[in-house]
Symmetry: C2
């Protein structure tokens, strides 16, 4: 419980940017997924790093938790105030601070969304590629080590965050990394905070790598007679070294939902959406080589989308897939699973998952960033039906176990949050305890996003 | 001091693979650079992870330090037993454990050298690209977060180590990462141990990313009228997005040393060595675009080396540059500086450094992996002449200060070791203290490579 003294100090620090209004608290108790939490006791909207540092000093002094909040698009309840305390909403720290086109980097505040960043970059010839689908905040994306459709070409947040400013528990402000492209100067603190889900500190500034806008872009939708053919085509494509910019899998159920939601008429069979980036000649060569591979795996329909408008429509539909699937079973919420396996195990992992879902009472369309070996089943459940919720949990746990058995990971991009903490020991063994020791070293009072990620 | 009980226990564990022979101890008291240390008290040659774990238990029980040793090619005295104890020489843990061509990964032991790995991979169509010049061990390369000539295209060890097995202080064995291409499952422990220089644990196994051997390779040596023209050409090349596989700078003094050492007749002016990887068509296109850029910066001579033999000769000469420079001033040792700056600041950093060296009494040829903004001055000193040593240290410190002032880092690839610990506070401020807290959390007794990297 926030002591009255703490609330008074917060009020002095944030004035009208402190809220304890029921609606504001309730808004910060929700997430995009099945997971909900108790509301925080207060929400603050800092505007500067100095304010966040002062807030962390108050947190240590009064012993209340701090939970960072970006866009609220997390799927594992990362930003829920499970143990009360103060949610730190970065909505007012959303500026682009410095575009350094010559160095292909940009400094931003954590509340900036990826789409807003790319709007600001439009005239520079550069773009920020990491694209998890949702218009997430960049601070949140760094904290969950997000990736998405373009990671197969441009990497994840791990690869695209170059430097950070972080407020530690107790209020100390550190800078990690530099504007140089690489460094061997000590522990990779940048890499440690990327994916730490706010449990080690609050990110108040990010330096991100940018990439040149590709000269030419071409996309295609390619249907396959069955799931195995589509997935095997992905494996062959990746193993051939073809530099795909995107290669996304949608099963027939996902295609049906997307068609209904986005008014498309894609054939109702397993689909790959692919995209190529490069010089016009390179894109043409890549597309031709992919076409040959797809033919070898018996593709049953190939639709090109070279015009910007057609491509945008296709990818908008892909990005709307989550909501399309939700809309396919009204009244349901989604348990969004997220595993990642070595590419050689992808076909087996997807097929076993599909069979497991087919044998369950739940619909669970499958889709994913299969170029990385990363895929999701969107398990649709009536949240009031305990049997459905239990069935979904059992399916999700079996998916995670299967991923581990095949040499993979329990989460490719969504992170641990509150939802997957129970699976951490299975993946990391004694390594999970080592994470706990690092947590205690940097946050001895356990004030930074408590109840998440670590033991 | 190793207690007699400790020595007896070590002897029981390692038998003839424990050595206290003077010659063996002396060999492990040297490094490739000016930095030397006291000899360790004993050297052991483990063959299994279990032996390393048992060793770490003995270390904790008897309180003696453990210092990992790979190929002894470190340039900052990382592997010197500054506080005595036992050097752990991984020479007998040098096997390729598992090549998974379909997943483009390989599991190896830490004592394996990068050249030996690539020999084993030759028939697979894959290769391991990270190339620091020296034939370093892969465990050592991971521990120093090494990079080198190909990092501009393929990344550093940070990007190419996917998973580790690590023996922690006290003997616990953990596995970090997985065989999946990415993961969001908790703190990036793999990234934390890469670059930790053995201060957090001993790496006993690595899973590395492999890359497809390029279909076509083409290389060229390109001379420029002056240092500024060469460096400006690099900056323009990187900013153009041209996917260089290598782009190396050698100043005129380095070229002279290389000519003498490798019997070449390169023009005595600043030189770029470049290499292109890709399909035959892509390589041709890239080379043509680079040629246009080089012409725009007034290149004064362009030598192609498309035949394998010519390329090998050129890169062998580049890799021998360090020894060529050493040979250019007999009786001298080298202080090898290593800074990395944002690419936009590269010309300024190199020019100011060259002017600083020219005003000093020392020869200091400059070369580097300039596509990353990373360069070195090889300062040649008579180790018995305190004035020369002092002048070299002053130059090196000014280089580091300059790199920080320009937004860069005090080391792009060589690491901190014993040599650069005094500069860590300047680069990281309070972040260095955070590193110390992590160190204490994982190695509370301070037994893992003490005296290095952390406060």
């Amino acid at each position: 419980m926030l002591a009255p003294g703490a609330l008074a100090a917060l009020s002095e620090l944030f004035g009208p940017r402190l809220s304890t209004a029921g609606a504001v608290l309730a808004q910060h108790a929700q997430s995009e997924s099945l997971i909900a939490g108790p509301p925080p006791e207060a929400v603050v909207f800092p505007e500067t790093t100095a304010e966040v540092a002062a807030l962390a000093r108050l947190s240590a002094e009064h012993g209340f938790p701090l939970v960072g909040w970006g866009a609220g698009t997390s799927l594992e309840g990362h930003a829920l105030a499970l143990q009360g305390g103060v949610t730190v909403d970065f909505a007012r720290m959303d500026r682009v601070l410095d575009i350094r086109a010559g160095d292909m980097i940009v400094r931003v505040q954590p509340g900036l969304s990826r789409e807003a960043l790319n709007r600001e970059l439009r005239t520079t010839g550069l773009f920020f590629p990491v694209d998890p689908g949702a218009n997430a905040s960049l601070g949140g994306m760094a904290s969950t080590r997000a990736s998405g459709t373009t990671a197969v070409r441009y990497g994840t947040m791990r690869d695209n965050v170059l430097a950070l400013e972080v407020v530690l528990a107790g209020g100390e402000v550190i800078r990690t990394g530099s504007a140089a492209a690489k460094s061997s100067a000590g522990y990779d603190l940048t890499g440690l905070f990327v994916g730490a889900e706010g449990t080690l500190g609050l990110i108040t500034e990010l330096t991100l790598r940018l990439h040149g806008q590709p000269e030419a872009v071409s996309a295609a939708a390619c249907s396959f007679p069955g799931l195995a053919a589509a997935v095997d085509c992905v494996i062959a494509t990746i193993q051939s070294g073809l530099p795909m910019a995107r290669i996304e899998f949608l099963d027939a159920a996902t295609v049906a939902a997307v068609n209904a939601h986005s008014r498309l008429t894609l054939p109702l069979s397993p689909l790959l959406l692919v995209e190529f980036h490069g010089s016009p000649a390179a894109v043409e060569e890549q597309a031709a080589r992919f076409g040959e591979l797809a033919a070898a795996f018996g593709q049953t329909g190939f639709q090109w989308a070279s015009a910007t408008e057609d491509r945008s429509r296709l990818w908008a539909a892909r990005h709307a897939a989550y909501h399309a699937i939700l809309a396919s079973r009204p009244g349901c919420l989604a348990m969004v699973t997220d595993v990642c396996v070595p590419i050689s195990q992808l076909a087996r992992a997807v097929e076993e998952t599909a069979a497991d879902i087919a044998a369950s009472p739940l619909p669970g369309p499958i889709l994913g960033h299969v170029g990385d070996g990363n895929f999701h089943a969107i398990l649709l459940v009536h949240p009031q039906d305990p049997a459905e919720v239990a069935a979904a949990k059992a399916l999700a746990t079996r998916m995670a176990d299967r991923a581990l058995r095949l040499g993979g990971t329990i989460t490719g991009e969504h992170g641990i949050g509150a939802g997957k903490r129970g699976l951490m020991a299975a993946e990391h063994g004694a390594g999970w305890q080592a994470m706990g020791r690092i947590k205690t070293a940097l946050d001895p009072m356990g004030l930074m996003n408590p109840g998440k990620l670590v033991p």
